[in-house]
Symmetry: C2
Subunit: 390 residues, 2 copies
């Protein structure tokens, strides 16, 4: 089966494998149906969203060499929906002709945050200053001898996810409870905006970028409240951010979706924060707002099909649905009816049965021809719906 013969993608011969059975995989699986692609999913637990959306579901540990290798041998193209995967297995599969997107090399660079930062440095890509430490205990010495000054951001080099593995360190006592392993200490960047650009690249080398999106933070809680497309920034900053995102993609020779998160500093510098080599939260708005959503685009890229238009039909804003503080247990979505009454509102409930504080339970997209109207309705959504327990 050659990847040149696109007809195979629409026949039962072709098989797409997805490593990970979570919500991102599920949203990707919906889009495979448009193309009638045969899909297989590998995941350690049966109790995951993708279970009912794929053709075949295989139980196995994503960090286990044999599980990943044996699964990969059964498919033509292999993708991921989570970064923590056995990379040795991916490399062997690539050597044996399986198309792995993102390539294992991209994942090798990204899986370890210290290595990711060094990659930016080596390639003259702008990012916040940092120091790397093999052990967290070395940080104290560095502060003591003047190599590092409070405040800074501690980040675990590996296995951080959604705010875990990240901590603002303002004094010595903040260092006390840190995990011991490899980490980086990053200069704290006061920023005006957090931006993201999704770049998509296929094996033929075609590249497209989505419009720059903006993460709007809660003024006090310092939590992302809204992802807004297009970002409300000037054209020059948007071009600069897009240009840097393109450079990252090119230097990585990445294939598929690459979401590049960046800071816009107060003097309009752009610094790369981190990247995700897969469909990303910052692109969920695209399901409702874009001509080609990020999941369909990822499929087009992996299959070396022509990439679709990344333009927006309408402005889009995404609100994450997270478990409310003080509630744990069987989830209830309070005031769902009220938000469904608002114009252009689409909920995406991920199907997790149990809520707990700040757990990501779903998202809501708000689309409108007028971005200011969308922003007003998004605020109503945010203030109305509550993810609580029974």
């Amino acid at each position: 089966m050659s990847n040149k013969d696109s007809k195979n993608y629409f026949s039962s011969d072709f098989k797409l494998g997805i490593l990970g059975g979570g919500q991102l995989g599920k949203m990707l699986l919906y889009e495979t149906r448009k193309f009638d692609i045969y899909t297989k999913v590998l995941e350690a637990s049966e109790d995951v969203p993708s279970k009912i959306a794929c053709d075949e579901f295989i139980l196995g540990d994503l960090m286990d060499f044999d599980a990943v290798y044996n699964f990969g041998k059964q498919v033509d193209v292999l993708t991921i929906e989570i970064e923590n995967i056995n990379l040795d297995a991916l490399e062997k599969l690539e050597d044996e002709g399986v198309k792995v997107y993102p390539p294992s090399k991209t994942l090798r660079t990204i899986q370890n945050k210290a290595r990711q930062k060094l990659f930016y440095l080596d390639n003259n890509l702008p990012t916040a200053e940092f120091s790397r430490f093999a052990y967290a205990s070395e940080i104290k010495d560095s502060v003591d001898n003047g190599g590092l000054a409070f405040p800074f951001v501690w980040k675990a080099a590996q296995f951080g996810y959604d705010g875990q593995g990240v901590k603002v360190v303002r004094n010595f006592s903040d260092l006390d409870d840190l995990p011991k392993g490899e980490c980086i200490a990053e200069k704290m960047i006061p920023f005006k905006n957090e931006l993201a650009v999704i770049v998509v690249r296929n094996p033929s080398g075609d590249v497209v970028t989505y419009p720059v999106v903006e993460m709007e933070f809660h003024p006090e809680a310092n939590q992302v409240e809204y992802v807004i497309c297009p970002a409300r920034i000037n054209e020059e900053v948007a071009q600069k951010a897009t240009e840097i995102a393109l450079q990252v993609s090119e230097k990585m020779q990445h294939i598929g979706i690459l979401a590049v998160e960046m800071f816009q500093t107060h003097d309009d510098k752009i610094l790369i924060n981190e990247v995700a080599p897969r469909p990303h939260n910052s692109g969920h708005y695209s399901i409702e707002a874009s001509y080609t959503n990020q999941f369909e685009q990822h499929i087009r890229a992996m299959l070396d099909l022509p990439l679709g238009s990344t333009a927006s039909k309408v402005a889009g804003i995404m609100v994450n649905l997270v478990g409310a503080e003080g509630y744990s247990g069987d989830v209830v979505y309070e005031n769902m009816e009220a938000i469904l009454k608002l114009e252009g509102v689409t909920p995406h409930i991920y199907g997790k049965k149990q809520t707990r504080p700040f757990r990501k339970m779903g998202h809501v997209t708000i689309v409108n021809k007028d971005i200011a109207v969308a922003r007003r309705i998004a605020q109503q959504v945010k203030e109305t719906i509550k993810v609580i327990s029974k």
Copy 2:
């Protein structure tokens, strides 16, 4: 479980049942994921599109009383994706408190084309003149004694689908091969446009309508080539068509989606052709073009949730993908890459493994801010992609 308590729709307690496992059901199932609704499907064969998109798949004959009744007892809301269902079972389920949408009464009216036509007559709803015959053999007598004149359209009263069970009769020899059973003979209506309006009604009585769409025919082959939204007709005709569609929905006290197909005559009269009480081919464009697509809308209606906006983000045109003449066997979608290069093009491949001439294998939606551009691209799509066999 009461249908007043909307919270249940988003918990594992609530179950939605779908009678029929075809492509319409599959597209409906995709949308249930947004709401994390537990779904069960009843279908006689395992080899159907819905198989991999539902939580539970039950084998059973849709015309069998026990199969439908036993299935219906296991769900809270029951819907259909095909009209030929055992209605006695649906009636008993309704008597026992299961919410059946569309109601069995709607299906009773629609299943039989003679009864459907009489319904329009009884309710002063405009439709083409017709005569009903208990046996096709009676048609000849009627022509002989001047009660009926050539040409006319013969339609089987029951079990016609997609052009089957319909024939233009121009002379006595055309009558020779007709099936024997109950039928109607309908006056042939020369028309300017074939239009359709989708009406949606929920149990609380909220009603919305989608914009009028237009079916554009091939000038020679007399086959629908494009479904175009919005229809290129004047406002007055659009209002008249919408008004008549609303009347049908109200008289039927229908719940869920009702697609009303109509003729616009050369003197701008509107005549009802037929209705479908479910998501419909004429609404497929809504997946890409509308704020709320017809499948999500059907779910909102059945669950008595607020109905969503039926407005369009952009103009939408749908092209049906049917098997090319002269090809039967394992399907190949020729020139798929070429159409994916065009702007705003989304294919929907239904996953049928075998093609045969005129078999419906999928559809393609083309969206654009400018309907004239969309129409041009739609024509390129139509002229480029070919559904052939290996």
